[in-house]
């Protein structure tokens, strides 16, 4: 198409293929992200609450919530009454 830039990604696509592992990883992350977002639609939750709602192991919930926080999908809220767990909620700016 006239005016369209030549994308170098086309060059590498001729030499490499995306592994099944990479594809599975993307699918898995998106699934986790959706699960967590759905859980947080009801309101802020702590990581154990997110883990319960999503049926994820708590350490996996921590990893995904923290990754989502890093990329702005989730923001940290207040700490609970026992000063143990922070609440996380969806970033309304997204």
């Amino acid at each position: 198409m006239a005016g369209e830039k030549q994308r170098t990604v086309k060059v590498i696509k001729e030499k490499r293929t995306v592994s099944e592992e990479v594809k599975a990883n993307i699918k898995h992350y998106n699934k986790m992200k959706k699960l967590i977002k759905d859980a947080l639609k009801e309101g802020p939750k702590t990581i154990p609450e997110i883990a319960k709602a999503t049926e994820l192991p708590a350490h996996e919930a921590t990893y995904y919530v923290m990754s989502m926080r890093k990329y702005g999908d989730v923001v940290t809220g207040e700490i609970d009454d026992m000063d143990e767990y922070f609440y996380y909620h969806l970033n309304q700016k997204n």
Binding site: R7, V9, I26, F86
Partner: protein, 431 residues
């Protein structure tokens, strides 16, 4: 590449604090230096630390000016993401080195480090610069104070979707880049390859990797750093703010059973430093350090140790036998109380393993014509440790920093001073 320089006075292998200091000293004496670093940024492990002992100065505030000075010096050329594949001595003051430069798939002169590419990337994998505590994208700036602060593409995990290329406002993404291996000439070589951290997975009785609330001291270092992966100090197992932490000293050091019988020299002090920082970050928390001996031998170190005790850090002379996990994620430490001779059990909600340091002996494979000698612990052998500590068995090859043995930051810088002086004296003979 046009006008590419293929000949330098010195090759410095390793871009940590010792490599930078060596390169800078030589560059200031007007020698042309090529600094080769395997990671995507120079700065080594120091740039990832929170603070330094015993002054509690911000590590980044000390190291980033040196990193910038190294990067900007006209006599220093830096290859990041690169490896020295082979060094051959061709005669007196003549070394030939094959250097492999891996592509970043990003044009270094075009990328502004704006990170516009990151949000559009669909891939999230574990972030090695945050010691796997959080994810990163397949296109990423390694960390916020990286130098060069340029994005790179982790091609093994890339989905080849091209979203980053479309999003880049500077047209810096370039998937057509390829690995490049070339031979360069040098008059001298300085090995500044640093050390490796002990992987506690090799000690199954401590449960690292299995029990999620056990982390390494480097992971805690990241949790304490201003560029930390979480918003505060949290247990990776469930996001709880810990209030009762334990440090297990000598994890993988002073231990014949794991093949590392020597003291790592820094573990006591960095653990005491972290304990002090934790007391500041979590004022209500209890911190207990389980130790065999506290080796606070340096200037101001013992006062630092006393300060920690005064702040309320508890020190228990005890050898940890086993760590097990409770259902709530808390950890039970079974230990031999050396003071009383009793075996005791105590519960903590988070455990930090103060891992020892190991020789980075892969550099041995690099020297082809003459074998680089190692000491009994696989560190680069200092052939005249007392009088000329930077000398190796190969004339013209010098060693700087923790490549020759465990040492802290000031000693690494001192060692680099010695290596650069020796290299400069050697280079002066050619003039």
């Amino acid at each position: 590449m046009e006008n590419e320089v293929l000949s330098y006075d010195a090759l410095v292998i390793g871009g940590g604090i010792a490599g930078e200091e060596t390169a800078l000293n030589l560059a200031k004496m007007d020698y042309k230096v090529l600094l080769v670093e395997k990671e995507l940024s120079i700065g080594g492990k120091m740039i990832l630390l929170s603070k330094v002992f015993p002054t509690l100065d911000c590590a980044a505030c000390i190291t980033t000016p040196k990193v910038s000075e190294t990067a900007r010096h006209p006599n220093i050329t830096i290859f990041t993401g690169s490896e020295v594949k082979g060094v051959e001595k061709k005669g007196e003051r003549n070394f030939e080195a094959r250097i492999l430069r891996q592509p970043r798939y990003v044009k270094e002169d075009a990328c502004t480090g704006c990170q516009e590419c990151e949000p559009v990337c669909p891939v999230v994998v574990k972030d090695q610069y945050q010691f796997n505590l959080v994810g990163r994208k397949a296109v990423f700036v390694p960390f916020s104070i990286a130098n060069p602060r340029i994005a790179a593409i982790d091609i093994e995990n890339c989905s080849l979707c091209g979203a980053c290329e479309r999003a880049c406002p500077a047209d810096a993404i370039d998937f057509s880049q390829e690995p490049e291996e070339k031979t360069y000439q040098f008059k001298s070589v300085v090995v500044a390859t640093g050390y490796k951290l002990f992987d506690p997975i090799k000690m199954p009785r401590y449960g690292y990797g299995k029990y999620k609330n056990i982390i390494t001291s480097m992971q805690m270092e990241r949790e304490l750093a201003p560029t930390r992966p979480f918003n505060t100090i949290l247990r990776p197992g469930d996001g709880k703010m810990p209030d009762n932490l334990a440090y297990v000293l000598c994890t993988g050091s002073r231990d014949h059973t794991v093949g590392n019988p020597i003291c790592s020299q820094v573990c006591c002090m960095y653990s005491i430093k972290q304990a002090q920082l934790l007391m500041g970050a979590l004022p209500m928390a209890d911190v207990t350090i389980y130790y065999l001996h506290i080796r606070s031998f340096g200037k101001g170190f013992n006062e630092f140790y006393e300060t920690a005790k005064g702040m309320g850090v508890e020190f228990v002379k005890g050898k940890i036998g086993k760590i097990s996990e409770k259902e709530n994620g808390n950890l039970v430490l079974r230990y031999d109380d050396i003071e009383t001779g009793q075996v005791k059990e105590v519960e903590h909600d988070m455990v930090v393993l103060s891992v020892g340091i190991l020789a980075n002996d892969e550099i041995g494979q690099v020297f082809k014509t003459q074998k680089l000698e190692f000491d009994d612990y696989r560190y680069v052998k200092q052939i005249d440790e007392l009088k000329r500590p930077a000398m190796t068995n190969i004339e013209g090859v010098f060693v700087a920093g923790a490549a020759s043995g465990p040492m802290d930051i000031p000693d690494s810088i001192l060692s680099a001073g010695s290596a650069s002086s020796e290299a400069a004296s050697y280079l002066a003979l050619t003039e």
